[in-house]
Amino acid sequence: MSDERVFMKGNHAACEGAYRAGCKAYFGYPITPQNEVTEYMSAHIWEHGGTFIQSESEVAAINMIMGASATGARAMTSSSSPGISLKQEGLSYIAMMELPMVVMNVVRCGPGLGNIAPHQGDYFQTTKGGGHGDYRLITLAPNSVQEMAQFIYDAFILADKWRNPAMVLTDGTIGQMMEPVDYASMPWMDPPDKSEWQLDEFQEGRERHVLTSIWLDPVDMAVAHEKLIDKYERLKKEEVRYDEYLTEDAEVLVVAIGSPSRVTHSAIRILRQEGLKVGLFRPITVWPFPYDAIRKYADSKRVKAILVPEMNWGQMIEDVKLAVLDKKPVHFVAKHGGLTFTPEDLTEPIRAILKNPEEPNTLWHVS
């Protein structure tokens, strides 16, 4: 282990990842459980030559980010569920104008004000669009403080590479916890050259740059769409990321992200001591979703069933089912309201599944 390690909160580490990626603008509005981001940015972004504004609303914040990224700067905002809803308007425009930027959602419980406890109820909102129109956010789901920093850093790179907004989707547990972080994998960097399209001092001889999301002629609009569709198809081929733990011999495959994937890890240790063959498949990009990789397990004779634990009423499970295509039972464990999983919440259903593998899809509600 390197000596570079520091002991930090997930929300603070995310800021450090952003600084290292060359983020020069953070605009945001306080909301629990991600206030540490707003506070840490307000205190430190100046040290890295950046700018902070506490905006009048989440709506204003995302639009400020739109302005900053339109000039070619690396810019980010963050919020938690109700605030992310407000940002969806801006994200739709940003996606159509193909502006790279990063937004982090430290998900809390909803609908409505809900509560400030960890939750995963924004999966649909994030991975299926969120705002109006057809668009996708490149979405990374960290499950540790190290990944909070790394994925914000990676999100900036992906956003610029694809000229697309990127989301880091996490939950209150990962945002609030402290763990060692090593920044060696995040060297300080500057944004790539964007002089092709950025709003800039108008140079004599260059075509003026116009960023817009309106094409009144349906044919023109369709052409603009094609460009996005093509980009999304390439993203699906090139940028799928996932992580696996003890899946080589697994008979039950648990598919989990965020803090439930951490609890799954603990549950698997307990079950392995009993000789039960359980593995964890963790999507890192939840958009693009690793359908093909999961389908391989659905096709494998060894795998008897798949279990999806989520802190919501069942969202990612729909993607898992799309991957599995009814080839294997897909069971669901729900924990919601802001309650967090214990390893026992997972070990019991897995033991039951292994006892009776023919059982069709089962739903466990744990509270």
């Binding site: 002991f7 402290m178 763990e179 803090s259 890890h265 549950a267 967090t340």
Partner: protein
């Protein structure tokens, strides 16, 4: 495999969160995997603030601890809440100044420390939690004193570095008090 799961609990403002961070930091520089998380969600109701610490020699799964093997309780409600949840063989530090209860479990190792008294003697009541941390270190010998001391230094903000000596003293006084109790119990 080493898997240490701690809960440190008390009133908000007693320094509970900080001592959790100190031991987690100390664990990190001792090359363990460590995680700290503040109480979050419904378990924070009912007069206690608490944090969870996990220290392990393998990658940490859940940062939440449901059956801790090391607990510090700084007030009575925390005792009532966490003493019954503890894993057999665990260690418990009770702050007798605010928690008069005695544990009736025979599968725990318990020390009863008047942490506020120790702190006041050392110089400031705010040091009670550090004294409790010292007592905890005596009962659960996972992290070296040298690393704990580095952790205390790390946790002190720059404008309070003059308090370092006093903090270290509180830590060692707490540890001494616990060691004396353990020795007496062993006889």
């Amino acid at each position: 495999m080493l898997l240490e799961e701690y809960v440190f609990a008390g009133f908000g403002g007693q320094g509970i969160m900080t001592i959790g961070q100190i031991i987690a930091y100390a664990g990190m520089i001792q090359d363990f995997y460590t995680a700290w998380i503040p109480s979050y969600g419904p378990e924070s109701r009912g007069g206690t603030a608490n944090c969870n610490v996990v220290i392990s020699d393998e990658i940490i799964g859940s940062p939440h601890t449901h059956h801790p093997n090391g607990v510090i309780v700084m007030n009575a409600p925390s005792f009532d809440k966490f003493e019954p949840l503890m894993a057999p063989g665990g260690v418990l530090v009770v702050n007798t100044n605010l928690s008069p209860q005695r544990s009736e479990r025979d599968d725990l190792s318990v020390v009863y420390i008047p942490t506020a008294d120790i702190a006041t003697e050392v110089g400031h009541p705010v040091l009670a939690s550090v004294a409790a941390l010292g007592a905890f270190a005596a009962t659960r010998e996972v992290i070296d004193d040298a690393n704990m001391e580095k952790g205390i230094d790390w946790a002190l903000p720059a404008h309070h570095k003059d308090m370092l000596e006093m903090n270290l003293k509180a830590y060692h006084e707490g540890k001494k008090a616990a060691e004396a109790q353990l020795k007496a119990a062993a006889k």
